[in-house]
């Protein structure tokens, strides 16, 4: 029930709504609705019979509902937030790479780049099941499993927990090249996805800047 690091109810609702709206306004269903509904309302204005007017306007409702439901299904889960900061070593000390973070990039400068992240589940979400994916020329691996109660399978690169006792915890990822720049090229990608739906929770462009 009450896990550690619970966000407030208001904050949890806000996270879910903002995430949903952000996703929904980019779906095709949204564009369709934003075209079709005004057209229907316009057509209804041209009709003489009041009953017919309302009948046409009422058509908007199922269209809107279908679009909203489709938006939810194509974008979920909304109850998990992942934030990541790429880091680098400066005189032997680890520091955040702010320029890369602002551009959503991860730079590969040697054979290991560490990403420090945080996962926050909203108040009513007790479980998660995420997967770390990368394009084939780079690898990504967790350095540590965040909590003993979590399960990490390095083969499928899946981190999950069915019933968390802490809703916020840090993660540390190891991103590394699997070949030379000549063989593998410079531009790659890394994504963190929800395992069940395959939907992207966060993604990065990975740039190999080695010579």
């Amino acid at each position: 029930m009450g896990a550690e690091h619970d966000t407030s109810i208001l904050s949890s609702i806000r996270v879910v709504l903002l995430g949903y709206i952000d996703h929904f306004t980019n779906t095709n269903a949204y564009y369709l609705v934003s075209l079709v509904v005004p057209v229907l309302i316009g057509i209804s204005g041209l009709l003489r019979d009041t009953q017919n007017q309302w009948a046409v306007r009422a058509l908007s409702v199922p269209i809107l509902i279908i679009a909203l439901v489709q938006g939810y299904r194509s974008g979920r889960p909304f109850g998990i937030k992942i934030s990541c900061t790429p880091t680098h070593l400066v005189s032997g000390k680890r520091e955040p790479d702010k320029p890369s973070e602002s551009r959503n990039n991860i730079l590969i400068q040697n054979n290991s780049t560490k990403i420090h992240g945080e996962i926050q589940l909203i108040r009513f979400n007790n479980s998660f099941d995420i997967r770390f994916d990368s394009s084939s020329e780079i690898g990504v691996e967790l350095e540590t499993k965040p909590r003993s109660e979590h399960s990490y399978d390095p083969e499928s690169n899946r981190l999950s927990c069915a019933d968390v006792s802490e809703r916020r915890f840090p993660i540390k990822l190891d991103v590394y090249p699997q070949g030379s720049v000549q063989a593998a090229g410079r531009y790659h990608s890394m994504t963190i996805r929800d395992s069940k739906t395959g939907h992207i929770l966060t993604d990065f462009e990975v740039i190999d800047v080695r010579t």
Binding site: T85, P86, T87, K93, R94, E95, P96, D97, E101, N111, S112, H116, G139, E141, L142, E143, T144, K145, P146, R147, S148, H150, Y152, P154, E155, F169, P170, I171, K172, D174, Y176
Partner: protein
Amino acid sequence: MAETNLRKASASTDRLEDSLRGGSQGQVSIDSVSSRTVEPMVKQYPFATQEIIQGRLIYEEESEYTAGRTIPIDFEFRTGSSLFLTEVQTDISSIDSVATQLAEAASSDLKVYRNLHAPEDALWDFLLTADRILEITVLDEGQEVPYNEVDGVDQEEVVREYAIENASVGFVEDGHEIFVEYRGGSLQVETDWEQGREYIIQIFEREVLSE
């Protein structure tokens, strides 16, 4: 002083000893392989019957400036806890490369990961049982800071919560000193005590790696 490096591995065969025997890949060639059953040294040891595949490999280190070195490295795979160890007397630049080539030399029946995948909270518990804590640094939004100097956060709140970056601790057992360092996702053990390495590894297996 010998340096022992620990990381996670997995074997996809019961006959790993045979797969390793006589194998070679790139700069790595396997000199000898044998197996033994572990001898428990600590109380409530959860892997009391585990088989340990051990051996020696020869690593041909290349150098741009000199003729390069031939370095013998002792290795061990502990089948119960899935730990992979290498022990080397001198400093070499990349154990990662050695581990990868060794795994390939075993015709891919052995997979050695880059990190320990130890649960972070259990790792904290293990480090805090040390007799001397020399240094523990954590990551605060990607910035490395000592664990008792996190801005606005008490030490008690940091422990078991924040991601560890580096840790150096000392254990004293029977008058012997064992120096343990956690860095870059793997554990290093240094000690002059012959059984010290096995002792601390068993403690680590019991405290961190058993469910």
